[in-house]
């Protein structure tokens, strides 16, 4: 810190980060300005209803986050301690729930835990899924695997030597948690919890369908209502800003728990823990893993099983289905790529600044990424529509906007997936590279890429699946040239064709599973040599 004066030039973020920030601003800000500029609508909303909506939003989001994170940590610890057959396969499937369209996931959960559900049949005392219970259940289904995966990645940053030392010292599980795991978790958890919290705040279909009635009303619904039924873009924007304000308050509270950037000893890393710490009873860990795996995989299995009744001999010959697969795949691939390209320089800049103690400057690059999640995609869509409407035909720019908005929505996931590995990179490789004078492309290809590859893979997979299952803005632009898989599912459901919808949901799930396996196969060979 003493040399702050001398290294001020290095506090400047890279051109890439500034460019990424500019791109992000260019996607989001004009849309918001356009909404604010639009003529005032007739919409109004009563303070008491808003208050009720805000408090319910907070209640369900805080509870959903707490449960997801606590269970996620327990699951990640269990997974980090045990090796078993199919572990890698299971971990790759953890990316799936986030990629399912909300309605598909809701119907799958209902077919298990609902009144006529599979599990309720054997366990009639199961509390009703409609109400807060159901909202929490669905949010934990979406977020537990994600929390566990990110926590596991964080735990794998613990150097091998520390586990070896703990083994030699015969440390108890409690001591290991306190001395080794907690410092790592303390770094990762505020970010993970913040992301999950925002996802739960903006959740819409789940809260409404499983909520049981208007007692379960959220701010997201108020925004949607203002934009749709009252057609009042300004009110919608104001409500969205209120929602962001609420989340900023909570996130800055969480940020207090984040310890200052700590340099860890440069030691070898790796997922060697399982082979080292033979201590402890494996039974509780395996119970945790099996129960969680069932909880996460049963709904996906249910999507597949209920899809089997569809008439595939007809469905698979429909050209529109193949077109939808290609469109969804193309949109998801491009959006994921853009998301990675924007998130990487931003995350790198933020973490470098943080490592130099410039925490406030770091937030400039981190906060916009997180907050984009709170902007409802329909709001961005509406804003852009207002801007582009007088000049172009409605169909021409729709694909571009859909890709960009999907990319923005995936940013926070990509950021979180990269952050852990970037921390290590900045702490360990930056000083080394500086002293060796390696920089630019040669540094990226020789040093950074091999270290970051697993993180890039995870980030890309998440972003891809998220866009692949996204319904969001497509319906808004209403062009018949863009038909995606989620669009097709909603369209068939909307005209009594439940079997078709289930069949297409199966196709979507199978493709998502194939994608998770395909992306993680990419470059895995080197990893195995580790």
């Amino acid at each position: 810190m003493a040399s702050q004066h001398g290294s001020i030039g290095k506090n400047w973020p890279s051109a890439g980060a500034l460019l990424a920030l500019a791109v992000l601003a260019l996607i989001a800000l004009p849309a918001l300005v356009a909404l604010g500029w639009s003529s005032p609508g007739m919409g109004s909303t009563s303070a008491s209803l808003l208050w009720r909506a805000a408090s319910f939003t907070l209640l369900q989001a805080v509870l959903s986050t707490l449960i997801s994170v606590v269970l996620g940590v327990l699951l990640a610890r269990a997974l980090s301690r045990r090796q078993f057959f199919g572990r890698g396969f299971l971990l790759r499937l953890f990316a799936l729930p986030q990629g399912l369209p909300a309605l598909v996931a809701v119907l799958a959960l209902v077919s298990l835990y609902g009144r006529a559900g599979f599990i309720s049949r054997f366990w009639p005392e199961l509390p009703s899924i409609y109400g807060l219970n159901g909202i929490l259940l669905a949010h934990v289904f979406f977020n537990l695997p994600y929390a566990a995966l990110l926590t596991l990645i964080a735990l794998q940053q613990v150097p091998r030597e520390q586990w070896r030392l703990a083994q030699m010292l015969g440390m108890s599980e409690r001591a290991i948690f306190r001395v080794i795991e907690w410092p790592v978790l303390q770094n990762a958890l505020p970010g993970i919890a913040g992301l999950i919290f925002m996802l739960c705040v903006t959740s819409f279909t789940i809260v409404l369908t499983l909520g049981g009635g208007p007692a379960a009303t959220t701010l997201e619904l108020a925004i949607y209502q203002a934009l749709r039924f009252d057609y009042d873009p300004r009110l919608a924007l104001a409500l969205a800003m209120g929602q962001i304000g609420l989340c900023v308050l909570l996130l800055s509270f969480l940020a207090k728990f984040r310890p200052p950037f700590a340099e860890t000893a440069r030691l070898s890393l790796g997922p060697e823990r399982a082979s080292l710490s033979k201590s402890g009873n494996p039974v509780p860990d395996m119970i945790m893993i099996v129960l969680s795996a069932l909880f996460i995989l049963l709904p996906i299995l249910s999507v597949i099983l209920s899809g089997l009744t569809a008439d595939f001999s007809r469905l698979l010959t429909e050209r529109i289905l193949w077109r939808a697969i290609a469109t969804s795949g193309g949109i998801a691939f491009t959006a994921a790529l853009i998301a990675v390209l924007i998130a990487y320089p931003l995350a790198l800049a933020a973490i470098r600044l943080e490592s130099k103690g410039a925490v406030k400057q770091a937030r400039i690059f981190e906060a916009p990424v997180e907050l984009t999640l709170l902007l409802p995609p329909v709001l961005l869509g509406a804003g852009w529509f207002l801007i582009l409407m007088p000049s172009a035909s409605s169909v021409g720019y729709a694909p571009v906007l859909i890709v960009l908005i999907n990319a923005i929505m995936a940013l926070p996931f990509v950021y979180r997936s990269l952050a852990g590995s970037l921390r290590r990179l900045v702490a360990h490789e930056d000083p080394l590279c500086e002293s060796l004078g390696i920089s630019g492309w040669s540094r990226f290809s020789l040093i950074d890429w091999p270290i970051l590859k697993p993180a890039f893979r995870a980030a890309f997979t998440f972003a891809f699946l998220l866009s692949f299952g996204d319904f969001g803005v497509i319906a808004f632009f209403g062009s018949d040239s863009i038909v995606t898989l989620p669009f097709l599912i909603y369209q068939r459901l909307g005209s009594y064709r439940t079997d078709d919808a289930a069949g297409i949901a199966l196709v979507l799930a199978v493709f998502s599973i194939l994608m998770t396996q395909a992306f993680s196969a990419f470059g895995r060979k080197e990893h195995a040599h580790d």
């Binding site: 119907l107 609902g114 006529a116 409404l208 007692a215 808004f476 009594y496």
Partner: protein, 331 residues
């Protein structure tokens, strides 16, 4: 040079219409243009006689169509807007974007008659409670029986803040109970399993067997009888009468093809168009069809009384009634 340019312009102006047929742009909702919906057949039939090309732009639903028009204003590419319902026409009229339809409405056959100068109906249906006859042996015979019935027999309804049928039930309760509607909602809330954002979620829960009743249309059983060959799902006939939904179309004042647009609306209430509607849109035709409807339609509930607030009443009261609903349901 200038003269050459203007000559060229004249030349192209003269030959282009001979090669490119005029395009009639129709904004509608997405289940209308789906492969199995009325869209493809309507397009084919009208193109055969108009020497034009029909282009559909499909949006999520009537509300989305109206919002799109409000955003686009006079710059809209739409010539025809097809798929608003009577709950939206007052708001739509207030945008001043619509021209008179100018069609002969004497052939329109919707319950309670028709007189709107801007909008012309193309189909209609009554809202109804659909029940699973394998689970409910004694379906409610009136809205009052639904409200006061066994709370263990659940119904799934839609949210009036986000969905058209949801708004339909709100207006139906108003029509029957008037100012006492909030109390009736309080009673009914005990029978409500959940309130979904749209029709699809509710119907999906119903067909998954989560609840024995769902809020939908009198025409829903026709789909199950004709396409799935089952009598299992039936509509409950309510003695007070049923609330009506009429779907309409209108011509944009900014249309560059006003004559073509008028022809389309005329075509819309002709037998050729109306024949397509029942088994593709699963709604009742709004004018004569060339042949009697399929047998299944004869088995549907045919309400003796139809409730319908005027579009102006809906526009002015919707907000208040929705907030009342929210307050009485949230307790």
């Amino acid at each position: 040079m200038l003269r050459l340019a203007s000559l060229l312009t004249l030349f192209f102006a003269a030959i282009v219409p001979a090669y490119a047929a005029p395009v009639l742009t129709v904004y509608t909702y997405e289940s209308f243009t789906a492969d199995w919906g009325p869209g493809p057949a309507v397009k084919k039939a009208f193109e055969a006689k108009c020497g034009c090309e029909v282009r559909f732009v499909s949006l999520a639903d009537g509300v989305a169509i109206l919002n799109r028009l409000k955003m686009e204003g006079k710059n809209s590419e739409a010539d025809i807007v097809l798929g608003l319902d009577t709950n939206l026409t007052a708001e739509a009229r207030n945008t001043n974007l619509f021209a008179p339809h100018g069609a002969d409405i004497s052939t329109v056959t919707v319950p309670n008659g028709w007189s709107d100068p801007n909008f012309l109906p193309f189909d209609f249906a009554h809202f109804a409670v659909i029940y699973d006859s394998e689970k409910i042996k004694n379906p409610p015979k009136s809205l009052d029986e639904l409200v006061n019935g066994n709370p263990a027999e659940k119904i799934v309804i839609q949210d009036p803040r986000t969905s058209t049928p949801g708004l339909g039930l709100l207006l139906w309760m108003r029509s029957v109970y008037g100012d006492k509607a909030p109390d009736a909602w309080k009673k009914l809330s005990k029978r409500i399993l959940t309130v979904t954002p749209g029709w699809s979620e509710a119907y999906g829960l119903f067909t998954k067997g989560e609840a024995p009743m769902v809020f939908s249309y009198t025409t829903s059983p026709a789909y199950h009888m004709i396409e799935e060959k089952t009598d299992r799902y039936q509509a409950a006939a309510f003695s007070e009468g049923h609330y009506l939904q009429i779907e309409v179309a209108g011509i944009m004042a900014s249309s560059k093809q006003p004559a073509l647009a008028k022809d389309f609306l005329k075509f819309m209430i002709s037998t050729e168009f109306q024949d397509i509607i029942p088994t593709t849109n699963w709604m009742m035709p709004a004018a004569k069809t060339s042949a009697p409807l399929p047998e299944a339609f004869g088995k549907l509930v045919n309400p003796s009384k139809s409730f319908l607030f005027t579009p102006e009443e809906v526009a002015s009261k919707r907000k208040v009634w929705t907030e009342e609903w929210q307050a009485s349901m949230a307790q």
